[in-house]
Symmetry: C2
Subunit: 391 residues, 2 copies
């Protein structure tokens, strides 16, 4: 492969005929899902829809590998995080919040809003939480009742070892609640087997659907823990969601179109097989990392997630300029860094329906961009293919 010529941005012809998303959610929506959500939609209090509701509820149990209950909420993912806090905690509880990025911080902010006491374990952005540190903290503070963590910290593209963290929490008798919004459908998280009390996800990530549907998956042994005096709750009151579940109904009017979308998404995942979905994402992550590193990018995370890749550009190449050129010349939307990493990194999302060809698309464009912006780099596609093959 010969090095692409370095052309000034202004004279480069636009290469794209349609927009493409490589964002860490919302992600590209497969045509099958767009079709599923745009048919005639029955009223939610009909047997026709109750059957859909029950099917999607069972699909979600399959996805989370739980014999517990997966409760569906009309909200974006943050709403489901709040629902977990107000249903599982009261002011006499104390949380240990695992913070390694923006979404770990969000747990702390929810506790703050409700006046729930909490401590944090903080690691620098891009680092994973150390289970031994969590164990030490739990040993040192008996008041802690609940650990609030994240499977895939989207702001840093870092995956935490949920299996090990769950083991620690369980051994200390603490409840473990996991934000797996960019984890589910990407990394394994067999809820019952690993002993995770509560797992949260949203529709617009591994579930390949538009945003607006979130879920709280409760393990069988944790179902009764939402009873009794908790924080103030009404819309988020999961007791009502549980009560209506056997009838195939939700607490409030469900997001009907998104139920069809998520149902179709899980049908697609069942066709592929859950292990295959996970291993494909493992290859997508490996391919993206290998290709980007071949171009001179530095991997930001010490424990890289497989649904999103965070990269620091080669010296001299401006991250914001990359985001802009990908958009304007290639029709590709990626994400930049958040908070203190704004303008210093790029984040490429590849969760959901993506395949190796999609990675060629984004890396091919990235290769053009870094060269156009003054850095000589080549071989992204070949490296990606090898990364895919050897993952």
């Amino acid at each position: 492969m010969s090095a692409p010529s370095v052309t000034p941005a202004t004279s480069t012809p636009k290469t794209s005929t349609r927009p493409r998303l490589f964002t860490p959610g919302p992600v590209e929506i497969p045509v099958r899902i767009l079709r599923a959500m745009s048919g005639i939609q029955p009223h939610h209090r009909t047997d026709a829809f109750r059957a859909v509701f029950k099917k999607v509820s069972e699909d979600l149990q399959w996805l989370h590998q739980t014999k517990g209950e997966v409760l569906i909420i009309a909200a974006s993912g943050t709403g489901a995080l709040e629902a977990a806090v107000v249903n599982f905690m009261s002011k006499t509880d104390k949380a240990l919040v695992l913070v390694g990025g923006k979404f770990g911080e969000r747990w702390a902010n929810i506790c703050k809003a409700y006046g729930v006491p909490y401590e944090t374990i903080e690691v620098p952005w891009g680092h994973a939480i150390d289970p031994a540190a969590v164990d030490a903290k739990l040993a040192a503070d008996a008041a802690i009742t609940t650990v609030l963590g994240t499977q895939s910290e989207t702001s840093t593209a870092t995956v935490y070892d949920i299996q090990a963290l769950a083991k620690v929490a369980k051994a200390r008798g603490k409840r473990f609640v996991v934000d797996a919004i960019t984890g589910v459908g990407v990394h394994p998280l067999p809820q019952d087997e690993w002993g995770v009390d509560v797992v949260i996800t949203g529709s617009q990530k591994g579930l390949m659907s538009p945003p607006g549907l979130a879920t709280v998956s409760i393990a069988p042994w944790a179902l009764d823990a939402i009873e009794g005096e908790k924080l103030p709750r009404f819309y988020w009151d999961l007791r009502k969601a549980r009560k209506n579940l056997p009838a195939g109904e939700s607490a409030w009017t469900p997001p009907v179109s998104l139920m069809y979308a998520v149902g179709e998404a899980i049908t697609m995942m069942r066709e592929e097989g859950l292990e295959n979905v996970h291993s494909r994402h493992s290859r997508l992550g490996a391919a993206t990392r290998a290709g980007a590193q071949a171009l001179g990018f530095t991997l930001f995370s010490k424990s890289p997630a497989n649904g999103v890749t965070a990269l620091e550009p080669p010296a001299g190449v401006d991250a914001s300029g990359l985001v802009k050129r990908l958009r304007d010349t290639h029709g590709i939307t990626i994400a930049g860094g958040q908070d203190h990493m704004k303008g210093k990194m790029i984040r490429i999302g590849h969760m959901g329906s993506y395949d190796l060809s999609d990675i060629y698309v984004v890396l091919g464009a990235l290769e053009e961009c870094v060269n156009a912006l003054g850095h000589k780099g080549t071989g992204a596609i070949e490296a990606a293919r090898k990364g895919w093959e050897h993952a």
Copy 2:
């Protein structure tokens, strides 16, 4: 028109080839809207989507006739009711809740969940709230700071006189918050002109879209009232929504597909003209009432709403049997009564894109059903047409 023959249910051939919704929300979704929500969807942090967000926000201001701000939430309508309570009230406030049905009661239940003191004014189901009674209550209890009301009480198909109620609240210096979920796009509610502080609606009613998007419209003079110490709030915190609004962004990930749906819905309403939308609903209500009364039904409401009609069947005809036969023989979904009116009434929804032909559809089927169920009735279509013409 000759009377339809009375045929036993079992031998009647199914008349429908497709399901039809005449429910008080979610309502039938026009094809234009289904198409708008199923296109390729940009990421929400792009200029392409910010432009959509700004357009829909302005569309919503137009719809509510306010120079204030209409904040968009990913939730069903109940979530927006809760958002209004937690942003406009604290534990030192006291609410006066106007209760004439299930949705008035919902306000009270939200207050209860948050420990907010409240009083109620209760009227029998089907009756409107009397502004003079509200005035007397406000005069008698100076501790009341906020009136929580409903424009169109869906459980009884009753419309309240929001203009008169707003006048009373304003004169007494109280904040007035109105659940207009089945009112907006059906009955006029010019927010600024009538002096209503807060108006709530949802996507699946007059806005003709799937459920999952709700809005809180705040009048210009009430915008600052959400600042300071209120009830615990995080996902519902409208300060964050307000802060992000000028940039064309929401507090949390917005329900992207539903934003396109609602945008298209308001485009359709702008094309028709808001006054025409209201007068069409006034005719739809009149036509439905006239047609049903011709068949021997009794109007349940003393102040009938125009988006939904509640009817008690002719003597000897079972309401549940009607709902079932409309469904099984005609492919039509309507609603029954709620709570103590379960099995005693039917509710026919006609808000959104409905026209006189649709009313013929539901009344034609209803006429077949009452006759099949043992009551002789005829002339529904003719009465409906006259009702439409003279409304």
